[in-house]
Symmetry: D2
């Protein structure tokens, strides 16, 4: 399972003033700590699956990123905060050297949580000192500004992973504890009526223009031809998916890709990851507020690509392609397509592949930009776990077809009838 994908800033614009940089730096770094506030040192140390990482590791790794790619390069007389952290908190950059085994991250009881917080504070202070000392006219200023922007985008990716990884950890605890102390009291409103929004065939432009910040897998911006298609105005709800479950959806091979069916059988699956059912309480859903009665109007979350595809087939529809999703969202003024960025990532039918003309960056940062481009499927949009300001229409999230612990849901699509 890939950790978030580090991708490069392409065209380097002039550096913004140091004060703006610092404000943004502090804002993002503090936002991470706010997510961690309800957790104990023990909560932050455990790893519930090799796909996930301990919170402590996220806190250290995001600091390691600034230390390795900015401080080490630009700080005069750089001395590492701790010589072993270079290896312990490297995620997958072979170019940086050895890495600690991913599946053993939960065994790192030392350095302690307190020591990792001290590491964060030290990195923060040194980055701030470096930025304060910069003149906007310094030759390195634009590069540092760009690396800082990249590091903060990277940090925001880990902010989302902190939520999904903590949720998974708590879900493995028989006590089913809540992340938020107070139970969610959402007076669920009725989900809107589902509409189909049609788009005509033609050449569309997709991908980021790379003027502002983007990850390198978002470019180059390029042409694709899409046939006529429709996109659902909102995401699939829990209630709609429950109808699939209760219609025997997990028992009928005709709905499933062959590989998906094998996965269902091998894991004896009957429902989405965090759904619970017993005769007494009926359907419940485990979430950040603990175990709650299932809200039929809420958007479905925590399904795999296989489940998304099977549901779509059962519903007489399909998943959208990346080009369909992006061109539709770009074309929409916000009135036709809701829940694009703030609810659940939306599985697409597109496997994760390089755009035409994509070429990897030099050096460790870009060394592996494209190395995850096989046997993964793209999700578009954003979720309730995505930090504000982080999502955009060109963003390409990706996970293997069986991944379920992310906030992953479904937006349906359909093609024009043949002969149309």
């Amino acid at each position: 399972m890939n950790a978030p994908h580090e991708l490069r800033p392409k065209n380097v614009p002039p550096a913004p003033p140091a004060v703006d940089l610092l404000t943004r730096f502090r804002t993002v770094r503090e936002a991470t700590m706010r997510r961690v506030a309800p957790l104990s040192a023990e909560d932050c140390c455990a790893q519930s699956t090799p796909d996930a990482s301990p919170v402590k590791w996220h806190l250290a790794h995001t600091s390691w990123f600034f230390e390795t790619f900015i401080l080490e390069r630009f700080e005069p007389d750089f001395v590492p905060h701790h010589p072993a952290f270079r290896m312990l908190f490297n995620s997958y950059y072979n170019g940086i050297g050895e890495r600690h085994l991913r599946a053993h991250r939960g065994l790192i009881t030392r350095p302690s949580y307190a020591q990792v917080l001290a590491y964060r504070a030290a990195v923060d202070a040194r980055v701030e000192a470096l930025v304060c000392g910069l003149h906007a006219t310094a030759v390195d200023a634009p590069t540092i500004a760009n690396l800082l922007a990249l590091g903060l985008q990277h940090e925001q990716q880990h902010q989302e992973l902190i939520m999904t990884d903590v949720l998974h950890l708590l879900s493995m605890n028989p006590l089913q504890p809540a992340y938020h102390g107070v139970a969610q009291l959402h007076a669920s409103t009725l989900a809107e009526q589902l509409h189909w929004r049609w788009f005509e065939a033609g050449i569309v432009m997709i991908g980021h223009d790379e003027v502002d910040f983007c990850f390198d897998n978002e470019g180059p911006r390029h042409r694709q031809f899409v046939e006529r298609f429709a996109l659902a105005s909102r995401l699939v709800t829990n209630g709609e998916f429950r109808a699939f479950v209760e219609d025997g959806g997990y028992d009928e091979p005709a709905f499933w890709l062959s590989e998906g069916w094998d996965w269902v059988r091998a894991n004896d699956l009957r429902q989405p990851l965090y759904w619970r059912h017993d005769a007494e309480t009926g359907w419940q859903e485990f979430g950040l507020h603990g175990l709650q009665p299932m809200d039929a109007q809420a958007a479905l979350a925590h399904v795999s690509f296989y489940e998304a595809d099977a549901y779509a087939r059962w519903a007489g529809a399909r998943l959208p392609t990346e080009a369909e999703w992006e061109s539709a969202v770009a074309a929409d003024d916000g009135s036709a397509l809701s829940q694009a960025f703030d609810t659940c990532w939306q599985w697409t039918a597109s496997s994760y592949a390089p755009y035409p003309g994509y070429a990897p960056q030099e050096g460790a940062l870009g060394e592996y930009n494209g190395k995850f481009m096989v046997n993964q499927y793209v999700l578009r949009g954003g979720s309730c776990g995505t930090p504000a300001g982080h999502a955009r229409a060109t963003y390409r999230n990706f996970f293997p077809a069986m991944a379920r612990w992310q906030f992953s849901g479904i937006r349906l699509a359909q093609s024009a009838p043949r002969g149309y």
Copy 2:
């Protein structure tokens, strides 16, 4: 591992005369038996990997196909040849009922090889009787003709699998026996000089028009936009790939997709599937003629998608997409692109996915047409194992990224430089 993909004839043309049908039927069925001639009953019974099937199973399954989809439907007073064969020789049609466990096919010592040959003969006789009794004006004639065409295309797919599966079985035998009794005495000619053939950006039409026979995954014919690209005039040779090996290709993670690198490490791979090396004899290659000195000018075969992709990266190129491959081959008059259909299947960069507007057929035959469309990669062209007349430019072969036992090779592509 998927067996060949049964796909439907789309638009049913009028049935050809019975005599033509019979001639083609006999020709194809006999071609299968010619491939089996050098093998013993024991050779035909063993299964060397769950990916492959015993030859006996191929012989029975292709007969089962005609029995199940033609005789059972159109023969008056149909009685099955053997009641248990329905289950034993069903490959993956859940709609037809239970199947025998794929990995246990090598344990079916009974029915014997002789009994399976008798099964073939009986099915042949009954199909021929049915066809001979048809009037071309009979209401079923076109349907039967189409199912026959489908069954024969299906049989041709298994003809190729017989070669690849036998090759794998023999390769597992420490005696390294040959399929052909006589050693290959090919005076290898020099491989032609590699040229790059450039194609301009634009909308291309790809996919089958479905007027003649095609598998349903080849349609509908539709538009795609391709950016400017170049295709290599021939396939990568053994000698070229050996340079990659000897340059440390299997030791350097930078060349590999992350998943490919894990696969190389986990399986301790150093070279293509059938290459052998020792200090005394140097490089050798195991093939249908047994173990032979490696021919540096011959086309490389038996590499996985991972290896193809790694080689391309090392070579400063990439794999072509399906649309690039098909539009280039369609545009070529045969003078610029050699080895398209007769040497090795060519890995593309495209994951196997439905074309826009693709919709599955009704019933068991079409029940699972698309069910393999996840985590597989498309190969285009054809190979030395493909029966004459079976290949075409729209044909979509597909296998998982680690599959190596097919005749799979590499044709390189490249994009126009950015800013071009």
Copy 3:
């Protein structure tokens, strides 16, 4: 899973006359071929589990044994029958050199069955020529006679394995074919009433005195102290074990060793290996005569050590130790203990360990005599598959606790009440 254990003759008696040696050699070698007679070349090639071997392999390996340990050593100008057979048909003698991977024995379609029969015939002829040429006074005569005796005991072990391995292969075939063409028409007589035969506490002698032939794990003969105990007069029947099954025996952890319970759960077991049950036909048992209605009076067979132990606990009894079993059988005049040698091997409570003073032999033959003495349990007696004359009271058969494909059954024991 161990193949039969090759163990050494200890004290070398004078060699018997050549003619007697030859008679015995031919008798045993022909007995092997009689067991193989109902099988096809395909039947003889397949391997249904890594624990079992193909019949063809058994035929070749037993010949390899004579070739390697007698012909190679004593034949002047020895030339191997085929240079590759040395490696192909070596079972586990590291001292002899490389071995072929056990799990891949079913892929050896070449040499063919006919070639293996020719190998047997050639070895037979050469051994016979060597023996005929011997003078009883020759210095090698006693050694050759002993190696011959060892080789024939070894062959008899494989005769039993041929039956158990074929039975397993046929059981994996959905057609459930029979080894014997004719169905068993046994008018089952009532099993005798079970009696308990008591034995007093004291020092007993167990182990072989090594005057006649024995495997080396049977000696040295030595003293053991046994407390008062009782042994059941006959084996547990199918009907008795069915009562355990129907009493929820496979559902109640209290009956099982912890490891046995894990094994039951992991494999979802409900009954002995070859029992079948459905509502329509009730209980059936698969055997060498195919699928037959279960005979409640027949001895239970094909249970693991775990099942034997669980049954004993359910029945308020226990399994006997080796010392108990051997001393009781030795003390019995045949009137109190039936089914000792001709029905099923009987699991003991004893793990397989060296007797006091046991020391391995020099050279390859004895190289690994004791190397299986860990995590295996001893079975005593003999079975319906054991060749006549092969069983004896000191014989130590052994298999891992989960092995079920041998003819393994249960004879109960009990201790005197405490304070007795």
Copy 4:
């Protein structure tokens, strides 16, 4: 892997005065906490292998034992400290109800370490109140005294596991942190010269007489016959085992049991669990004081049964049986056999099996006393991790043949020459 084995007190002596009970209770409970003192909450939460448990779990489980088997039974108006702890901290008593999955113990970040300490304190207070309220003449007094004794022996077993489990956790940390803050400054004295102490053949009594406390697997006391044998006067040293390693001990199959050799190959082992080697520093050993230069004179620790057996074979000796070990230690006045109880547990050649006449106790406590008696090997003596006063000559520790994380070492034995 079994947790320590809960076994029953047999003959119930009169209860000692409450004040003595309380003193012992407090002493043992406090000794546990002293072992935990150097650890953080994070250290106490992690689980480094399914064989080991988190320290927090040990702390809770030992308290659960007193709560479940004493408070729940004898406290008037018993209310559980926390309803979920009954399931969370049950180890393997099926009779008590559901258990939490062993491999997931490291995910129990809640209850927190502080809550578990509160649980311990509450149980301590309630047990003390119960005991203080007892009159020695009360009918329950002897039963409670016995259960208390059992619970404290159980707690002492977990005290040793706390050390071995923490050592394993720290060994998995790339920083190789020490449990003890201060490095060990042992001026290693020369290991004594190894002598062989001989014992004559005869009937010996082994097993506990069950007058004082013992676990039930230690009885009944009974007779065994042992042939003449010798025992080494001390344990094998690091230096001696290093000679085996440097003699190619891990490369030569002839030294190993077949299953041990497979284990060595499959895990690519070259040395004992905590030995480290590189060209620069030479041999080092990881221990509770961190990484230290190897002390060649110190006793070897952390080897498996396979390694112990292979070493013994290489050294021309063997492992002792249980009866040999126990009778020799019982017969020794302390002058001939050193390091019996205070250095390392000593692997014996005996598989773990019930003594003659052993019968399980009624109820949950005794429900599974014997359920681990298969595929495990007995270790005798005690170790540096065993609490003072816990070891005795009849004590039977047991682990699977590949277990290495305990303080397990080797004392050699040998038999009299044959014919002696």
